[in-house]
C-alpha cells in the first residue's frame, strides 16, 4: 500500500492529516502511534471511506482506493465500535459480511470454515458471543474482518476497551494471526507498549504528520527529536550547547555540566541541542563506566520488577534512573551520595 500526499481537512481550516506519505510493503505491520488529535484515526477513516480526504492517492495493488466507492474498497476493518451480534453464533458473525454481500451459501460455508481455522476457534462455531471470553470474541471480530481475504487490514484501537492482562494476551494472538495471514496491516493506537509489541514499523504522529517512522528498536534507540524520545518510553533530556575541540565532542548543559559525547549527530560547534539518555542506561555504583559523576539520591520508588531512582548531579540537574529490582531495595535511600555513569554512546544528540 502506498499513501501519497494524503490530506484531511475538516471544516476548511482544521488540518487533521497534512500531506502524508507512507509506503507499506506487502505483509508489513505498521502502527500509527500518537497522542489524540495527531491525525492517526483520520488516516484510517479516510482509507476506509468514512472521511473524505481533501487530496492524495492511496494505491493498493496499483488501484487508487480513493477513486473507489467505499463498498468496493474491500478493506478488512476492526474497530472498537463495530461489535459482534450477540444473538448470532460465532459462525453467523463471521459469515456476516459475506451474507451482507449475498454470497452463495456454499462459498460462505467454505470461507467460514477457513476463517474459523485461522483464528483457532474450531469447536466454538455454534456458541454465541456471550459464551466466549473477551479474547475469543476479539478473534471472532478478526475472522469477520479478514474473511473476504482483504489485501489490507485497518485496525483502530481494537484492544482499547479491554483490561491490561487481556490486552497483553491478545497482542500476541493478534500478531500471530497477522503473520499467518500475511495481510498488510495498518494499526492505530495511543498505547506505546502495544505498538512496540506488535509492529514491524511504528510511525510517530504529531499534528497530522509523521515525526519519525522506523522499527520499534530504532525509534527507541535513535529518536530523531525530543517529541519522539518523550513519546516512546521514558527519557532524560538535557538541553545545552555543543563544543567541538579536535576529535572531542562535549555537551555543556545550560546548568554548566560538561559531558563527553560519542558524536554530535551532525551538530556543529556552539549549536544548541537536546541530548537524551534512557533511564535504564544509567548505571549506579558500577565499574567501569565511560562517563561518571557523583550524585545525590533524592527519591526512590518501586514499580514491580523495576526500581526508579531520581538523582541530582552537582550542577543541579535531575536524572531518572531505572534499575532491576534485585531485592537489595534499601541500598539507595534518599540523601545518599552515589556514583552514576554510562557508556559513552548511550547519550546521544537528538537530530532536531
Amino acid at each position: 500500500m502506498q499513501i501519497q500526499s494524503l490530506s484531511v481537512v475538516y471544516d476548511e481550516n482544521i488540518t487533521a492529516v497534512d500531506g502524508l506519505d507512507l509506503d507499506i510493503p506487502p505483509g508489513e505491520f505498521v502502527t500509527l502511534l500518537g497522542p489524540s488529535g495527531s491525525g492517526k484515526t483520520s488516516i484510517l477513516m479516510a482509507l476506509a471511506g468514512f472521511v473524505r480526504p481533501s487530496s492524495g492517492h492511496v494505491f493498493v495493488d496499483s488501484r487508487d482506493l480513493l477513486a473507489l466507492p467505499p463498498n468496493e474498497r474491500n478493506l478488512g476493518l476492526v474497530v472498537q465500535s463495530y461489535a459482534l451480534f450477540p444473538h448470532m453464533t460465532v459462525e453467523q458473525n463471521i459469515a456476516f459480511p459475506l451474507r451482507m454481500r449475498n454470497w452463495k451459501q456454499t462459498d460462505i460455508d467454505q470461507a467460514v470454515r477457513q476463517a474459523v481455522r485461522m483464528v483457532q476457534l474450531r469447536g466454538y462455531e455454534k456458541r454465541k458471543p456471550g459464551q466466549l471470553s473477551g479474547g475469543e470474541q476479539q478473534r471472532v471480530a478478526l475472522a469477520r474482518a479478514t474473511i473476504f481475504d482483504p489485501p489490507v487490514m485497518l485496525m483502530d484501537e481494537p484492544l482499547g476497551a479491554l483490561d491490561r492482562q487481556l490486552r497483553d494476551q491478545l497482542q500476541s494472538e493478534l500478531k500471530a494471526i497477522q503473520q499467518r495471514t500475511g495481510i498488510t496491516t495498518l494499526y492505530v493506537t495511543h498505547d506505546q507498549d502495544e505498538a512496540m509489541a506488535l509492529s514491524d514499523r511504528i510511525a510517530i504522529m504529531r499534528d497530522g504528520s509523521i515525526e519519525q517512522i522506523a522499527s520499534p528498536q530504532e525509534l527507541y534507540e535513535r529518536p530523531r527529536n525530543t517529541f519522539v524520545a518523550g513519546f516512546l518510553g521514558e527519557s532524560n533530556v538535557l538541553q545545552g550547547t555543543i563544543h567541538l575541540t579536535g576529535n572531542r565532542v562535549e555537551l555543556e548543559t545550560d546548568a554548566g555540566w560538561r559531558l563527553p559525547l560519542a558524536d554530535a549527530s551532525g551538530a556543529g560547534d556552539r549549536h544548541r541541542v537536546h541530548a537524551q539518555i534512557r533511564p535504564e542506561r544509567i548505571l549506579v555504583e558500577e565499574d567501569p563506566m565511560d562517563v561518571h559523576t557523583t550524585a545525590e539520591v533524592i527519591d526512590q520508588s518501586f514499580a514491580g520488577e523495576m526500581i526508579r531512582l531520581t538523582v541530582r548531579v552537582p550542577s543541579g540537574e535531575q536524572l531518572a534512573i531505572k534499575r532491576q529490582n534485585s531485592g537489595r531495595t534499601s541500598d539507595f535511600q534518599p540523601g545518599r551520595q552515589v556514583t552514576i555513569g554510562w557508556a559513552l554512546q548511550d547519550m546521544m544528540v537528538l537530530r532536531d
Binding site: S54, G56, H57, P69, M100, N102
Partner: protein
C-alpha cells in the same frame, strides 16, 4: 469555540472526481434546495454533501424539514427551487433508479398487517424483481440479522412497535441498497429493537454503505454518526463532528445534590471558587450553569473545603433543545 460550521469541505484534487465522471465519494449532493408548502418553506435553501461511506445525522425536531428533504431525495416530491443529486442521479427524472439503489425507512412504514413478516419481505422482493432463489437467501439473512426468527410466521398486525420497525428496516435493506435514508428509526422502540437497529446501521456502514439518519436523539447521533447537521425551520444551522457539537453544551451544566440546609454555604463556596457561573437551586439540588467540564474538580474541591456534604455531582446530559439553545446563544453574541 469548537469547529461547527455550516460550510462543507471543499473538493480538491480527488482522483476520478473530474466533471465528466460521477464523483463516487459524494453520495448525496444538495444545493440550495428549497421546498414550499403554500407560503411556508419546509426546506429553505439547504446545502449539504453526504460522503459515500459515512453515516450523516440530520438532527432536528418534527417540522424541521427532515422528512420533506428525504421525500425530495427519492423523487416523491419536486423541489420548489435548487437541486439535489443522489448517487449521481437526479431525483426529479431518475427517481425510480434512485429508489432501486436506496433503502428508505419512513416514519410510518407501510407494511401489510394481514401478511406475515416473511410474506411482507417476499412481497417486496417480488416488487423489486429480485430473482426468487437470491431473494430467499437474502430474506433468510435479514430475518436472522434482525432477530425475527420467532416472529417471521406471525401476521404483522400482531407485531409490537419494535418488531414492526425491525421488519421495516429489513425491508429497506432487502434489495442490497448502497444508501439508506432513515427517518427517525428508533423513537419508542424497546431496548432490544434499538440495539438491533443500531448494530445493523453500523454493520451497513462497515460494509461501505452510506446512511442519512434523521433523528432528534442526540445520544443516538453521537453513537452512530460520523458527522451531523442541525436542521431548524428548513435550514442547516450547524454542521460538524457530533462530539464537538454536544460537548459545547454538555460540558456546561452540572447538577449537585447536597443536604438542603447547606445550600447557602454551597452557593457561597462555588461563587467564590469559580466566579462567573450561574447558580439555581431547588431544595437539595444546586444547578451550576456555565461550568466547563475541566472545572468540575474545582467545584468538588470547593464544596469539600467548605464542608458541604455532597451526595451526587452529575454533568447534565444535553438534549437537542440544549444544542439549539447554545447555537442561538452563540449566534446572537
Amino acid at each position: 469555540m469548537t469547529s461547527v460550521s455550516a460550510e462543507t469541505a471543499k473538493q480538491t484534487d480527488i482522483p476520478g472526481a473530474n466533471s465528466e465522471r460521477v464523483d463516487v465519494s459524494i453520495a448525496i449532493d444538495i444545493q440550495n434546495l428549497t421546498r414550499h408548502y403554500g407560503e411556508e418553506p419546509a426546506v429553505n435553501d439547504l446545502n449539504l454533501q453526504v460522503f459515500a461511506g459515512e453515516v450523516f445525522g440530520l438532527l432536528g425536531h418534527n417540522g424541521a424539514g427532515k422528512t420533506t428533504t428525504i421525500r425530495m431525495l427519492t423523487g416523491l416530491i419536486t423541489p420548489t427551487s435548487g437541486s439535489a443529486q443522489v448517487l449521481g442521479l437526479d431525483p426529479t427524472f431518475e427517481g425510480s433508479e434512485i429508489r432501486a439503489r436506496t433503502g428508505v425507512l419512513t416514519e410510518t412504514p407501510a407494511l401489510d398487517s394481514r401478511l406475515t413478516g416473511r410474506e411482507n419481505l417476499a412481497f417486496f422482493a417480488d416488487f423489486f424483481d429480485i430473482e426468487p432463489h437470491r431473494a430467499r437467501h437474502r430474506i433468510d439473512f435479514l430475518i436472522d440479522a434482525f432477530e425475527l426468527q420467532e416472529h417471521e410466521q406471525d401476521r404483522v398486525g400482531t407485531y409490537s412497535r419494535g418488531l414492526h420497525q425491525r421488519l421495516a428496516l429489513a425491508r429497506a435493506m432487502l434489495h442490497e441498497p448502497e444508501l439508506l435514508l432513515l427517518d427517525e428509526p428508533t423513537p419508542g422502540l424497546d431496548p432490544v429493537a434499538t440495539r438491533v437497529v443500531h448494530l445493523m446501521i453500523r454493520a451497513f456502514r462497515s460494509e461501505g454503505g452510506t446512511v442519512l439518519l434523521c433523528t432528534h436523539n442526540l445520544e443516538e447521533a453521537e453513537r452512530l454518526c460520523d458527522r451531523v447537521g442541525v436542521l431548524e425551520r428548513g435550514q442547516m444551522i450547524a454542521m460538524g463532528n457530533p462530539r464537538d457539537l454536544t460537548s459545547r453544551v454538555a460540558d456546561q451544566q452540572v447538577e449537585v445534590e447536597i443536604a438542603p440546609r447547606f445550600r447557602d454555604r454551597a452557593i457561597e463556596a462555588i461563587t467564590r471558587a469559580i466566579p462567573g457561573v450561574r447558580i439555581a437551586t431547588v431544595d437539595h439540588l444546586v444547578r451550576v450553569d456555565g461550568l466547563p467540564r475541566n472545572r468540575i474538580p474545582d467545584l468538588v474541591e470547593a464544596l469539600a473545603n467548605a464542608r458541604v456534604p455532597v451526595y451526587r455531582v452529575e454533568p447534565r446530559v444535553s438534549s437537542l433543545e440544549d444544542v439549539y439553545f447554545a447555537l442561538h446563544e452563540s449566534r446572537s453574541r
